[in-house]
Subunit: 336 residues, 2 copies
DNA sequence: CTGAAAGCGCTTACAG
DNA sequence: CTGAAAGCGCTTACAG
């Protein structure tokens, strides 16, 4: 059953049928009522493909994340989807594992589907040329992390640098002077800023505090390995506190500590970043820096919509506040 | 740049251009090579909306889950998406919170978008009529739980009943005779089967073991409240073991136990269901029943694809094995 | 306020 | 092996 059918049933032409259903101006109230009624009666379902072809856009947006199983992305995705639903848009989910070829292939595919825009966690795995290419492909793109270089991308993310600073402040205020920081691979802008904020703060206000930075995969496994290595080195003098670039890595540290009998926070304080749901459920409950994941997702979608309607001129950037969530994995070691 | 443009550039008509790009038979090798080359050179991107309109399908499938933030669904979604990617399909993500109106509205929207099929975690929140309606709406649907009644749905899920039995066996074998089971709201077929398997096994082989079943939200909060209530009742004689219908509820029990100073497994053994990633990270690491979430998602997609190509005749049903993952939250209380 | 018509960009019998 | 043509189901100026 097509528009044609309802037009026939209503005794009008397909043009006015279309106008009636789309609530356009310039159609008699009775006519419209009749058309609407006929559509309902015939259980008419407009073909969005046809509409999309005619109008030039599909009302769907693409969401490319590394892996939806990462609770951080799941939360962001929900924010995106709720906002999209409210705006009458659908979202196409893509998992890239941050692999360049998969990212590129998704972008091609989304463009072919004529999406209105794309939300994507990062483009840092792509070459400069590739970045340029997708930035100029015609559909607006908003990134979930800050981006230097190619400036046509919009961004929506937390104030990562401040998060790093807050973590440092918390640790320093509790008397810690031998600090360690576990971070992920180089190219993650979000993580890099956390590191920067943390390290700078320590160097500036740490009264001679020292901090060493180690990196691994930004997963529970990554944190586990780093911690395992650290704990098995009985000779060195351990840090009194570790700041991990995300909660997942902190979970890995906790597991390693459990296995090696290292008490947290007795022997070692630990602070994470993200505040995923399970941060409050592990043992000990994890002190961490909360970032508003859901809101970031929702905001990313709003930006996209604005970019679409405004004809995508200047990119837009949105930064979100972070806050310390103090639980049980850190403690004060003030001497007095 | 449209097909027309590449046809022009290649000096052929749009028909052969189309055929060349779609690898259809009956086009001269040189002609095709030329067309392909032109397409590449012009950076041609086919308009999938137009193609979809012409062919009648879109190559996208809809995935409707309660909430992607639930790690179980995230894992399933990844399975779906990987399989879809491999098959050249895209997936549209929808979060329903199991609300009937939201589910229905998504289904309408997906049908309007001419998806090839829909994967959906449950239809039990819908009325009989609504179920009938969507079962006969023309697009194949596969459910992520078993379904009685309307039989046109395909299904892909774990052997939940067996999972319940395994949990009972494990507990009984370890000497537990006073058992408790926390489950979710009534209409979840997956959970109900777990309960059935558990209870039946206990009654049949429990040598007089007793089991009480309590229900709440199937979330960490739900488990928390139930446990809190139980723990604060100092008068009654507690169970020696609890089986929760999923890991989330078990996490809630762990939190309550931590707060109230109840030792797990010292005072109380605990076994969950799902084996989500964090089951191994909480304290104590959770003994649970593993179900192959990723594979279930992938299988659901395969079923859908088969239903599409075969013209969606008979529904298809697929059940997946489960297994006990023994960690630290259960212990033997054999007297001898 | 309504209709006739062109067009969106593809696919696919049907001829040749 | 290739072309001319109809059709997929809508929208939207343009007339009236």
């Amino acid at each position: 059953v097509t528009l044609q059918d309802v037009a026939l049933a209503a005794g009008v032409t397909i043009s006015t049928a279309s106008r009636s259903l789309n609530n356009a101006y310039g159609v008699h109230l009775e006519t419209r009522a009749c058309v609407v009624e006929c559509a309902r009666r015939l259980n008419y379902r407009p073909n969005r493909l046809a509409r999309g072809l005619a109008t030039g856009h599909s009302n769907v947006i693409g969401l490319i994340v590394s892996d939806i199983r990462n609770p951080y992305f799941a939360e962001v995705a929900r924010g995106v989807e709720d906002a999209a639903y409210a705006a009458g848009r659908d979202v196409m989910l893509c998992n890239s594992d941050l692999k360049p070829d998969r990212q590129l292939s998704y972008i091609e595919s989304l463009i072919e589907k004529r999406v209105d825009g794309i939300i994507m966690n990062s483009v840092s795995a792509l070459t400069r040329n590739e970045q340029f290419y997708i930035a100029n492909c015609g559909v607006p793109i908003v990134l979930l992390n800050p981006h230097t270089g190619e400036s046509r991308f919009s961004t929506a993310c937390a104030d990562n640098e401040k998060g790093g600073r807050i973590a440092a402040e918390h640790l320093l205020a509790n008397g810690h002077r031998r600090l360690m920081h576990f971070t992920g691979p180089k190219q993650h802008a979000n993580l890099t800023l956390r590191t920067n904020g943390f390290v700078k703060k320590v160097q500036k206000f740490g009264q001679g505090a020292e901090v060493t930075v180690l990196s691994a995969e930004r997963t529970s496994e990554g944190g586990y390995h780093l911690a395992k290595q650290l704990f098995s080195d009985r000779s060195s003098n351990w840090p009194t506190a570790i700041f991990t670039a995300n909660d997942a890595m902190a979970f890995g540290v906790i597991r390693a500590a459990m296995e090696m009998g290292v008490s947290i926070p007795g022997k070692l304080s630990l602070i994470g970043f993200d505040d995923v749901e399970l941060a409050g459920l592990v043992h000990p409950p994890l002190t961490t820096i909360r970032q508003p994941k859901y809101q970031i997702g929702a905001a990313a979608l709003q930006i996209l919509l604005r970019r679409v309607s405004s004809g995508a001129k200047e990119p837009e950037h949105s930064t979100f506040g972070v806050e310390l969530v103090e639980r049980k994995s850190t403690r004060s070691i003030q001497s007095r």
